[in-house]
Symmetry: C2
Subunit: 110 residues, 2 copies
C-alpha cells in the first residue's frame, strides 16, 4: 500500500488512513463494546491476526490520539487500553457498520 | 492478512471483509459521488493505487454484488461501473465516514 494514495483533503481518505485495516476495525469493535481492554483481550478475540499486527494497529491508534493506555502492572509492564474523546467520535461510523453488518447476517439482535 | 481473521457472525468483520482496504473506499467514494465510472476514471482519481490494485478491488466489489458493470465499447472491451441496490446500502457507512472525515479536515462543505 502506498504511503499517501490520495489527497489529504479527501474526507474518505482520512477515514481510510485510520480505519483502512481489518485488524483496526476489530480493535475498535472491542473498545466500543467493552470500554477497556488489555492487550491479551485483543489477542484472544482477534484470532487470525498476529500479535505483531495487533500491536502495530494499536500503536497507530494510540499515536493518532484515538486510544490511550494506562499501566496497570509494572513488572512486567502491562497496559489497559481505552478510547479517547477523539476515538469515541468514530462511534457513528462503527454504528453504521454494525447496522449494515447485522442486516447482512440477518440478525439484528445485539 | 489471514483469509478469515474473525467470526463470520461478527457484523464488524462483515464490513471489514468488504471495506477493509483503502482502495475499496476510494472506489466507493467515486461511485457514491458520481453514480457511474469507467475504469480509467478510478485510475486517474486514485493516484497512488496501482492499476492492479484498483482492478482487484473492483472485481471483489462486482463479485460481492455491490457493483455492476456494463459494456460500453466492445473493441477493446470497456466497461462502465455502477453501484447495485446492495452496494447503495453501504451509503450510511459512507455518509458517517464523510461526516467524520470532513470534521477532521475542518471543512464541512461538500
Amino acid at each position: 500500500m502506498p504511503e499517501r494514495p490520495y489527497d489529504e483533503n479527501c474526507p474518505i481518505w482520512r477515514v481510510a488512513d485510520v480505519m483502512g485495516h481489518p485488524c483496526t476495525l476489530m480493535i475498535l469493535r472491542e473498545l466500543f463494546q467493552d470500554g477497556s481492554c488489555r492487550f491479551k483481550d485483543f489477542q484472544s478475540r482477534s484470532r487470525g491476526f498476529s500479535k505483531n499486527s495487533v500491536s502495530k494497529r494499536l500503536k497507530a491508534l494510540v499515536d493518532g490520539g484515538f486510544v490511550e493506555r494506562e499501566l496497570y502492572e509494572s513488572n512486567p509492564p502491562r497496559y489497559i487500553y481505552r478510547l479517547t474523546k477523539r476515538g469515541r467520535k468514530l462511534g457513528p461510523i462503527m454504528e453504521a457498520m454494525f447496522a449494515w453488518g447485522s442486516a447482512e447476517i440477518g440478525n439484528q439482535s445485539r
